[in-house]
């Protein structure tokens, strides 16, 4: 029989430390839905998606019950809609509304892929889709959007950077009466991964199979608790403990991914090793960093702790899964993490420190609430800085900023649910307008001569 200690440890992780599978995401290619006409393309999209994902939610719930492990979200990612729009033409929002109908029918809580990839320039469909994002995120509830504006191989498309600053601002303005929820569903990427199961940045890349199952695990509470059991250990031992814990968490993700893939008869894609927090107390990445010995997240030393954590999670997780992909690392979304919210409110965590942390973590400036009167150029400046970090370091970086319309530094904006709440953070308001308005493209960086 299995060791009693192991059984109780697993149950304790689930019961008291918020261990869960964060998401089962089904990636569906829409390339074969293009007919050359908007109406019939949308009909085909609806038909294909509702057929493929018909049993997704039910299967997730069955696995949840049989294995006793909570599976929080069941989601779908699709081929970037800008590519479908290039062929189908018509009003881009029509496609968003179609996806919304699919979400309602199959019962998933988000569909990602209202996206465009414009790192080198705009192809047919790209610009129209980007311009339609504020309206699409306003008239739908379950649709997530992302735009890739840079990559290590292509450089950074500054025209797109400029446009995205305006789009984020506009999206906040049109959803001001709904708590500025629009930009909370919009991510601007550099080096976007094609198999990411996490929202809001999930889309189904063109190199992916027709249909695929990707799984994202969670478990910051488990890692924090493991570290709390070795209060006097040196940092090598802490890293080993994180590795061991990440291994166990990921094994569970692998098991669920294989089981879902088998039951749905859809190939297994990847397990994303990210430590994804929620606003629930105890389910926080910031608390892990504090457990390592920081008075509060944001203190000097935070970047080093995060680097250790991110690396150890990958080392532990890689061995536990047959295919690893997606974003894989530690997420630091401010409004979705109780410890980050507390640190930002007390002033210990600033946007500059968060930017430094993004150099060593998996994503970027995520779910950060900024003053409502922030100019589009400043937003673009933040995007450009973050994209530069991703481009030069050959890693994914992203920006998800929410201008809180009508609110100022110190006020709070509340989205509810998994998106959480947070304080409006202070930004450097010196204008980068001239730089942003120049347009053009930052050339791809040299990847050799590294000395």
């Amino acid at each position: 029989m299995i060791n009693t200690h192991d059984i109780l440890e697993t149950i304790n992780m689930i019961q008291d430390e918020n261990l869960d599978i964060r998401t089962i995401t089904m990636g569906i290619s829409l390339l074969d839905c293009c007919t050359g006409d908007a109406k019939s393309t949308c009909d085909k999209i609806y038909e294909k998606m509702t057929k493929k994902a018909e049993h997704l939610v039910k299967t997730g719930e069955d696995i949840e019950k049989e294995y006793g492990i909570p599976i929080i979200n069941k989601r779908i990612s699709v081929t970037p809609i800008s590519m479908i729009l290039a062929s189908g033409k018509g009003d881009p929002v029509l496609y968003a509304k179609t996806l919304e109908r699919v979400a309602q029918t199959v019962g998933v809580n988000f569909i990602g892929g209202y996206s465009a990839l414009v790192q080198k320039g705009f192809a047919a469909g790209d610009e129209a889709l980007i311009r339609s994002i504020p309206e699409a995120l306003d008239v739908t509830e379950h649709i997530c959007s992302s735009v890739n504006i840079g990559s290590t191989k292509a450089g950074i498309n500054m025209d797109a950077v400029k446009m995205m600053g305006q789009i984020i601002k506009e999206s906040a303005e049109v959803t001001a009466n709904k708590g500025c929820i629009g930009p909370a569903k919009l991510v601007v990427f550099c080096n976007a991964p094609e198999d990411n199961p996490f929202m809001a940045g999930a889309f189904h890349g063109v190199g992916e199979p027709d249909c695929v199952i990707n799984v994202g695990v969670s478990g910051p509470g488990v890692v924090r608790s493991a570290i709390s059991k070795i209060p006097d250990a040196n940092i090598t031992e802490v890293a080993d403990m994180v590795k061991r814990t990440a291994f166990k968490i990921t094994r569970m993700g692998q098991l669920v991914a294989c089981e879902a893939s088998k039951r749905l008869d859809v190939p297994f894609g990847i397990v994303d090793l990210s430590l994804a927090p929620t606003p629930a107390i105890g389910d926080s990445v910031a608390y892990i960093l504090e457990e390592m010995g920081l008075e509060q997240c944001g203190a000097h030393g935070t970047t080093a702790c995060l680097a250790l954590l991110n690396d150890a999670v990958k080392k532990g997780g890689v061995m536990a899964s047959s295919h690893v992909g997606g974003l894989s690392g530690a997420f630091i979304p401010v409004s979705e993490d109780a410890g980050m919210i507390a640190a930002a409110t007390s002033g210990a965590l600033t946007i500059e420190k968060l930017e430094a942390m993004t150099c060593v973590c998996s994503v970027g400036l995520d779910m950060i609430i900024v003053p409502g009167d922030t100019t589009a150029e400043v937003l673009s400046g933040i995007i450009a800085d973050e994209a530069a970090i991703g481009m030069v370091n050959s890693k994914t970086t992203a920006v998800r900023l929410i201008p809180a319309i009508g609110k100022d530094i110190g006020d709070t904006l509340n989205f509810g649910g998994l998106l959480g709440y947070g304080p409006v953070m202070k930004l450097n308001t010196a204008s980068p307008a001239k730089f942003i308005n120049r347009g053009g493209r930052i050339p791809a960086p040299l990847q050799s001569l590294k000395n």
């Binding site: 029989m1 149950i11 098991l255």
Partner: protein, 89 residues
Amino acid sequence: MRGIITVVGKDMVGILAKISGVCAENGVNVIEVSQSILQDMFCMIMLVDFEKANVPFTEFSDKVTAIGNEMALSIHVMHEDIFNSMHRI
């Protein structure tokens, strides 16, 4: 398939009888039982076989959870694989 039933809570008369009773009623075979009492906390782990069960796993799980709520015990029924995959390479 095999499952693991765990029961944790305040010790009282009849816990083992009640759980093994519901197993028998539903054709679930008890393979192994390990039980300990730490201070006055009761902790029991059962390895059970669903090969000849006459109800689906999820329904059985609901029944056992209902007993847990009734007796103020924390009871979980989980597929054996979750423990195997997490703790064994």
